[in-house]
């Protein structure tokens, strides 16, 4: 169960990173960066 969850999480994190680098507007890039923070904390099981 945990592995499936973390795999989905890693995939969403990957999409966010892709979004961060493909977006051209700084406001969209900032949004992607903000979403990355909690995803990272969860991926490493910190919070």
């Amino acid at each position: 169960m945990k592995i499936i969850y973390l795999t989905i999480l890693a995939a969403v994190l990957g999409l966010c990173l892709w979004n961060l680098f493909s977006a051209k507007k700084p406001s969209l890039q900032a949004t992607a960066a903000m979403v990355i923070v909690p995803l990272l904390l969860r991926l490493f099981l910190i919070n």
Binding site: K2, Y5, P26, L41, F44
Partner: protein
């Protein structure tokens, strides 16, 4: 490199720094605070010594044993649980105060200050709770964590939609699956929370614990407050204890353990073991629904204008004025309750006494504050 790639790298760097700072703060909650071994402590064990499956898990926790010299296998014993709910700080601090000060002269005292160890490692989401609170001692500050009501979801996940209590089949809302005080008597192959319950039940059975005291706090608007809740088996002991406390001017109610609310210490430990279980509640604004700003000061003083207002509107079950309910008062109630339980037990069972000295009285704690009863932090 394109211009928007450079800005993406800058945003990524900011995100990594933010995650690093937040991560360090969250991880710091996993470090146990200092608890001194008081003069009465004869041994410190781990809960996994009674239930080895807990070894190395975030549910394993210290068990402080304070054995009197005269204690033998037949002697009376008391188990005190602090930190069943780590967002109820007086329960935790009272258990620490016992470990650091109590000196048993008859019988054995077992104390588990962090009963739900995992729940100390995080805060409840969206509550704005402080991570820690500080109590000043003559030799320096003592810092205690203010945790969550429930096991850390990082340690036990996912929650079911409906939590089904293992031994009764009672259903509760899904997040109660991580509430230690809904999991008793526990399940050896259950969730982490159920395993901790099982470990505590094993300790009670194997050590033949005479009296089990589960320390709590409750929101001022919660009906069971400033009260002792007792299993039917413990009712004679608890009712005499409550009279003893009232004679010390400590207002306290007595509540029978509800028959149909399952998984709680005062129900299951009485049904499944020979111990006499009681639970105590003190008023804690910092866990209440009506509270205003939630900070360390609220944890320590209980001063909150909204609770004063709620009391005037008749919405509370405890008296509430501008003086709040300071942590000295709440810890004092718990410590006085424990001392009175031991006193009442000994009065009725002089052949199996349970006696400890070194503890402050309720009046003394109100007078001196908590600081002088807590050991200086280790340098």
């Amino acid at each position: 490199m394109k211009k928007h790639h450079i800005s993406a790298l800058i945003f990524l760097a900011i995100a990594l720094v933010a995650a690093g700072i937040a991560g360090a703060s969250f991880l710091s909650m996993r470090e146990n605070e200092y608890i001194a071994k008081g003069p009465g402590v004869s041994e410190v064990k781990m809960l996994s010594d009674w239930f080895p499956a807990l070894a190395g898990s975030p549910g394993d926790t210290e068990v402080y044993i304070l054995r009197s010299e005269s204690s033998n296998d037949d002697a009376a014993s008391m188990l005190v649980l602090g930190g069943t709910h780590p967002n109820e700080p007086a329960a935790f601090v009272a258990a620490v105060l016992l470990v650091e000060n109590a000196q048993p002269s008859a019988g054995t005292l077992y104390v588990i200050p962090r009963a739900n160890n995992s729940a100390f490692t995080h805060n409840d989401p969206q509550e704005g709770s402080p991570q820690r609170f500080t109590i000043k001692t003559p030799d320096g500050d003592r810092v205690f964590r203010f945790g969550s009501r429930a096991t850390n979801p990082v340690h036990q996940w996912p929650d079911p939609d409906v939590y089904i209590h293992a031994s009764s089949g009672q259903s509760l809302s899904g997040n109660e699956t991580r509430n230690l005080n809904r999991g008793y008597p526990g399940k050896a192959d259950g969730t982490l929370t159920e395993k901790v319950c099982y470990g505590i039940t094993e300790l009670i059975k194997k050590e033949a614990i005479t009296i089990t005291v589960d320390l709590h706090e409750a929101s001022p608007e919660y009906p069971v407050n400033m009260a002792m809740v007792a299993h039917p088996n413990a009712m004679p002991l608890a009712s005499e204890t409550v009279i003893g406390l009232e004679m010390q001017d400590i207002a306290i109610g007595l509540e029978p353990s509800p028959v149909n609310l399952r998984g709680l210490t005062h129900r299951e430990l009485g049904d499944f073991t020979d111990t006499l279980p009681v639970l105590m509640e003190t008023p804690n604004a910092s866990q209440g629904r009506l509270r205003g700003k939630t900070d360390e000061a609220l944890v320590l003083t209980g001063i909150d204008p909204w609770y004063v207002k709620a009391e005037k509107l008749g919405r509370l079950y405890v008296p509430y004025d501008g003086n709040g309910h300071p942590i000295e008062e709440r810890v004092g109630r718990h410590v006085a309750g424990i001392a009175e339980l031991a006193f009442t037990w000994t009065l009725n069972n002089p052949e199996r006494p349970l006696e400890f000295s070194g503890l402050p009285s309720y009046a003394e704690l109100l007078d001196t504050g908590l600081g002088i009863w807590l050991k200086a932090p280790e340098q």
